[in-house]
């Protein structure tokens, strides 16, 4: 006879949390009271907000949480409470800082958003021309060209360095690795100065998109190389052994087994590299000659990029040009967003398709 087991209602979802109304009340009090007290005291005494936050709220919250945590769970509760207070506080702090930057850019930038701003260039536009005329289309194109060319050259180079560092047993690896590491500490203006003094001052080449690209390469290379190296290193030795054990030559093992396994890491490396250089201003100021018109030839002539457009308008410091600079900042953010989404969609984590239904 089949036995019917009566369904039980779950008394508490998690017995280890010791949930009952008194404990819930205590925890709620510990979470709300310090904030309330700190806010009230700050307002009543007319204290500075930062003082209220750091001198009143954080210690109060710490005392309350540790007290209640210790009361409910003894030593473990005290330690947990302290850790939670600190992590939540710093997480919120960083989130607030970051989002305030974003809010500022969006707030000021969105006012500039109109089709003409994106589609037009800046010929015949003076710092006092109405915001309805002129735009940064030429700078968007220039940025895409300069950053694109840099990426085209640097990504294969960076991947090559990563392969050398992970796949070969050459004795020069440690030297190259420290070289790459110190390169990532290179101030971007130095990179610009180097190209400026090596190529432009010596009249090898005028300022053009290419000189800008060259100045960006040393900045992008270490990022790509190091993240790629990490991605390749994460591929388990087991897989390499499996491939070699099946009679694969090294290059096939690498191309057919290691590379696919490291693919999403390599895509990340490229993205981080692009993100590293897309807003770089200092090297471009030295190596690129901004123009108001559109120039699609990166090998010669003046060319505008987003960072130089932004910087140029900012230094004109009229109301209108500062507005335009904010607009450019927002466009840079959007551009990064678009590049990230596109690359993720094209080359991201390709999962093997699981058939939807099996009969």
């Amino acid at each position: 006879m089949a036995q019917v087991i009566a369904a039980k209602t779950r008394p508490t979802s998690a017995p280890w949390k010791r949930r009952n109304s008194r404990n819930i009340l205590l925890v709620t009090l510990a979470s709300v009271l310090p904030a309330a007290v700190a806010a009230a005291v700050t307002v009543l005494l007319g204290l500075d907000g930062a003082i209220g936050l750091l001198v009143l709220f954080v210690p109060l919250q710490l005392i309350a949480s540790v007290g209640i945590g210790g009361y409910l769970f003894k030593k473990r509760g005290r330690q947990d409470a302290a850790l939670i207070v600190f992590t939540v506080f710093f997480t919120v702090l960083v989130a607030v800082l970051l989002s305030s930057v974003l809010v500022a850019v969006f707030e000021a930038g969105l006012r500039m958003m109109r089709w003409s701003f994106i589609s037009q260039n800046a010929t015949y536009i003076s710092p006092t021309t109405s915001l309805d005329y002129g735009g940064l289309g030429h700078a968007v194109l220039g940025s895409i060209l300069v950053v694109g060319f840099t990426t085209l050259v640097t990504v294969p180079l960076g991947i090559g360095v990563a392969i050398y560092l992970t796949e070969s047993r050459a004795s020069g690896r440690n030297f190259i690795r420290s070289l790459i590491q110190s390169m990532s500490g290179l101030p971007s203006v130095v990179s610009g100065l180097f190209i400026y003094s090596a190529m432009i001052v010596t009249h090898w080449s005028g300022q053009s998109g290419i000189t800008g690209s060259l100045a960006l390469m040393p900045l992008m290379l270490p990022t790509v190389a190091r993240v790629c190296e990490e991605a390749l290193r994460l591929v388990p030795t087991d897989l390499r052994s499996a491939a070699l054990g099946l009679g694969a030559p090294n290059y096939r093992m690498f191309l057919q087994v290691v590379l696919p396994a490291a693919k999403s890491g390599i895509v990340t490396a490229v993205l981080l590299g692009v993100a590293r250089i897309i807003g770089e201003t200092a090297p471009l100021l030295l190596t690129v000659n901004p123009s108001a018109g559109t120039n699609l030839n990166i090998f010669a002539g003046q060319i505008e990029t987003l960072p130089t457009y932004l910087f140029g308008n900012l230094s004109l410091s009229t109301d209108y040009s500062v507005q335009r600079a904010w607009g450019a900042a927002l466009i840079v953010l959007f551009l990064v967003l678009i590049i990230f989404t596109l690359t993720r969609a094209i080359g991201g984590n390709k999962q093997l398709k699981t058939p939807k239904k099996r009969k």
Partner: protein, 262 residues
């Protein structure tokens, strides 16, 4: 020490010595693996069984700091000889590892075909090859409806049998197996043992195992490895499985196969 040298020796190791850096871990290993026979390598942990089996298809040299002296003869030809390409050696002498290692980015079917593709050979009638390989590893019935699913969606035991199937698809002359059943349940172990028995009709097999019953069930000859306090590992006894387990010559072998060690 019994020596077993048959005229139709398929694979032979001659005076194999192995070093890791300055450390001597294997000393003078002379073993003969006759054609279409199963040889079991037994011995306590750390005595050099995996190291030895890796010297047999030149996987050993991939470890940084590895050193070797001696020769391994396949059909009388030294696989470490001048001008021998390790890649060709590994195609002829396949290997199944202790831990299942299917390629995670490939489907079950692609895993089976990966050996051919990785060694740069053309795949003709792929479906047939996939089916026969999977059947020989007795996993066909479990996966025939999901050949295009990722290989890592299989259970550990299924993955191991998939790896065996992957090696079988290469049709090696010799198959080296390093504790292929160490992560498997009795059922899968039994099936792999049946597989070994079946495939030994067409290839020479060397298997490392910690399971005395398994060694007795699947192998015709057995080699007992031992590394005594700080000394490099060496073969203490080598002979027909029957003799090694029932009439061992060396008392240390007797202790080990009867579980009296340490």
């Amino acid at each position: 020490m019994t020596q077993l040298i048959t005229p139709q020796a398929h694979l032979r190791s001659e005076d194999i010595n192995v070093w890791f850096g300055e450390r001597h871990v294997l000393s003078d290993v002379n073993l003969t693996f006759p054609e279409n026979q199963v040889t079991a390598l037994i011995g306590p942990s750390g005595c050099g069984k995996s190291t030895f089996i890796r010297t047999l298809n030149r996987m050993h040299e991939l470890i940084p700091g590895a050193g070797l002296s001696g020769a391994v003869l396949l059909d009388g030809q030294d696989i470490y000889g001048d001008g021998v390409n390790p890649v060709d050696v590994r195609i002829k002498i396949g290997m199944v590892f202790q831990k299942p290692n299917p390629f995670p980015t490939m489907s079950i079917k692609e895993n089976i075909l990966s050996g051919l593709k990785l060694s740069g050979r053309k795949v003709t009638n792929a479906d047939e090859l996939v089916e026969t390989s999977l059947r020989r590893a007795s996993i066909w019935n479990e996966v025939k409806d999901r050949l295009n699913e990722p290989a890592i969606s299989l259970s550990g035991g299924q993955q191991q049998r998939l790896c065996i199937a992957r090696s079988l698809a290469m049709e090696p002359q010799v198959l080296l197996m390093d504790e292929p059943c160490s992560a498997l349940d009795p059922g899968s172990t039994r099936r792999i043992e049946e597989t070994i028995e079946e495939i030994s009709e067409s290839m020479t097999i060397v298997i490392v195992t910690h399971n005395m019953q398994q060694a007795q069930r699947v192998s015709q000859q057995t080699a007992f490895f031992l590394a005594e306090d700080g000394n490099p590992g060496t073969v203490v006894e080598f002979g027909a499985t029957e003799d090694v387990f029932n009439r061992p010559i060396d008392p240390r072998t007797n202790d080990y196969v009867n579980g009296h060690f340490g």
